[in-house]
Amino acid sequence: MDRRKSRAALWLLIIPYVGLLYPAFYNHLEPRLWGFPFFYWYQLAFVPITALLTYIAYRSVRDDD
């Protein structure tokens, strides 16, 4: 049960690849945020998002070894 849960958390790590490696999805100027075009704030927002997802994955595997 726990083992399956930890595997599930690792799948979260796909999200940054999906979100960032298809640029047509975010290659836009609008909507802007604090003067930043979408292209820029979207990618910058993925930094904390990825860190958070990795943290969730970390919590699920840290006791493995």
């Binding site: 690792l10 790590l13 796909i14 940054p16 690849y17 960032l20 490696l21 298809y22 640029p23 047509a24 290659n27 836009h28 100027l29 802007r32 604090w34 003067g35 930043f36 075009p37 292209f39 820029y40 990618q43 910058l44 993925f46 930094v47 904390p48 990825t50 860190a51 997802l53 990795t54 943290y55 994955a57 970390y58 595997v61 840290r62 070894d65």
Partner: protein, 511 residues
């Protein structure tokens, strides 16, 4: 182009500023002392052991690893070249941002497994792991050679970063006898001596100073510069207007740039931790969990990098013109800040060159010692003997990089670095696949490496010099332009699988 020189904004020229120079020299002196004192930091029983000299005793915890890998991966050249590319072409230059985001899930999943192998078997290098897994001297040798050859121009690039700040201080062009770039030579020789005596402890200790300085510089710049220039909206608008006027670059990717952007980001991310210097940082940590925690914490540097890239647009907003794009960051600080803070920023970048250059030379020296000297010259070498060989090799590697920068055109190092990125990516199957499966064998991996290495170099070879991108014949009339490293990796894996399928399987040895 205007024909009236009076109407054109003046091109930035560096001048000697004593406040900037004084601040720079103070910090350079500080880290020099730290570099030598580092031999006594977390003092081992003896430094005459390759685990101590080359891996800092495999004992670095979460914070030291964070500063070391951060200081080592986000180099001085990054601080100079990423804004320079953004200044020149706009959105495309930001590929460094997705690159340094998607690298961490990969680090999280793969690097703890590599660390465990290295720790269990006392391995020091990537090629050690490959030899241990496949028991093939040939595969070990090509992984080691690829690592050294890819690292040499990377060290040279750090010198280019350092050269940019020495120029900004108004000190370039000082020759003493046959030595063209005297300040650069002195700075690098000092680095070589304390790396020789302290090993990995020197850059690990200096990384604290370097990284804190860079954080201060960038945080001040991203707050103060937009205030002076009318906010981020104005910065983007001015940059966008400049690109439109020049008819080149832009705030968004062009249609043919999107596949290039994504494949450069992914290919660079896969290559990043195949380099000896990043792997040295990994192997030097004290546990697999330290590495996992760092995969969570290191993205802080990526945020910093994204903001550093913005400096390229700020250069447009400040109306700065430069003779070469690599001057844009020094010119921005020189133009918008007082002398002492500009000096602080130059020192941060200059010290930022020392940390990676030191770790790179140690990583290359470890490869030479373990996978050439121990494998072919003296198999009975003791750990103390290994440390002695590695120390001398680190000196040779650094002097070699220095000679390249001082006596050969800059383009040579840049071209070699580009090829190096493609080459190092070809070591991924040999190093990583074995962590997950016992199916692959040495002949297939060796053939795959050869095809990837030669094929990648051949594709990069263009009539007008080397290029990182190749148009593939699908997805529209103009084709789809992608990063060559990734194409070569795909060939590499395909050949490895094919050869593995057709060659007879020998009796399975214990993995």
């Amino acid at each position: 182009m205007t024909t009236d020189p009076a109407a054109a904004p003046a091109v930035w020229t560096p001048t000697l500023n004593y406040a900037a120079l004084a601040v720079f020299l103070f910090f350079f002196l500080l880290v020099t002392v730290m570099g030598f004192v580092a031999a006594r930091w977390r003092k081992p029983e003896t430094l005459a052991h390759i685990d101590e000299w080359g891996l800092g005793g495999r004992n670095f915890g979460t914070w030291i690893t964070w500063f070391l890998v951060g200081g080592d991966f986000y180099t001085a050249y990054t601080v100079i070249a990423v804004p320079a590319l953004v200044y020149a072409v706009g959105a495309y230059g930001f590929f460094a941002l997705p690159y340094t985001i998607v690298v961490y899930p990969f680090v999280f999943l793969v690097m703890p497994l590599l660390w465990k192998k290295a720790k269990e078997m006392n391995y020091v290098t990537s090629a050690d792991i490959v030899h241990g897994k496949y028991n093939s001297r040939a595969l070990e040798l090509v992984v080691a050679i690829t690592g050294v050859v890819a690292t040499m121009p990377y060290i040279a690039l750090q010198l280019i970063g350092m050269e940019a700040v020495i120029k900004a201080l108004g000190l370039s062009g000082i020759s003493v006898g046959p030595i063209h770039n005297f300040p650069l030579t002195i700075a690098f020789l000092i680095l070589a001596f304390y790396t020789y005596s302290s090993g990995l402890r020197a850059p690990a200790l200096i990384a604290f100073v370097k990284d804190i300085m860079i954080y201060i510089v960038v945080i001040v710049a991203v707050i103060v510069v937009p205030l002076k220039l009318g906010g981020y909206g104005a910065v983007f608008d001015k940059a966008g207007a400049d690109f439109a006027a020049a008819g080149k670059g832009g705030l968004l990717l062009g249609g043919n740039q999107m596949a290039a952007y994504a494949t450069l980001a992914l290919g660079s991310a896969l290559a990043a931790f195949m380099y000896p210097h990043t792997l040295t940082g990994i192997f030097a940590s004290n546990s697999a969990n330290t590495i996992r925690k760092n995969a969570v914490l290191l993205p802080a540097y990526t945020l910093l990098l994204g903001l550093i890239a913005m400096l390229g647009y700020m250069g447009h907003a400040a109306g700065i013109k430069v003779a070469t794009n690599n001057d844009i960051v020094p010119a921005l600080f020189d133009t918008l800040f007082s002398g002492w803070f500009a000096g602080f920023a130059y020192a941060a970048i200059g010290i930022g060159a020392l940390v990676p250059a030191a770790v790179m030379s140690i990583g290359a020296a470890n490869l030479f010692t373990r996978n050439f000297w121990k494998a072919y010259v003296n198999p009975e070498v003791t750990p103390a003997g290994e440390a002695a060989v590695a120390k001398v090799t680190s000196l040779v590697v650094k002097v070699g990089a220095l000679l390249v920068i001082v006596y050969l055109p800059t383009k040579f190092a840049l071209d070699l670095q580009l090829l190096g990125g493609i080459w190092i990516l070809q070591t991924l199957p040999a190093l990583v696949f074995g962590l997950y499966t016992n199916w692959f064998r040495a002949p297939g991996l060796l053939a795959g490496w050869a095809v990837g290495f030669v094929g990648g170099s051949w594709m990069a070879w263009g009539p007008e010099g080397l290029k990182p991108l190749q148009a593939l014949p699908f997805g529209g009339p103009a084709g789809t332009t992608v990063y060559i490293g990734l194409v070569a990796l795909a060939l590499n894996v395909a050949v490895a699988v094919a050869v593995n399928l057709v060659t007879a399987r020998r009796p399975v040895a214990a993995a």
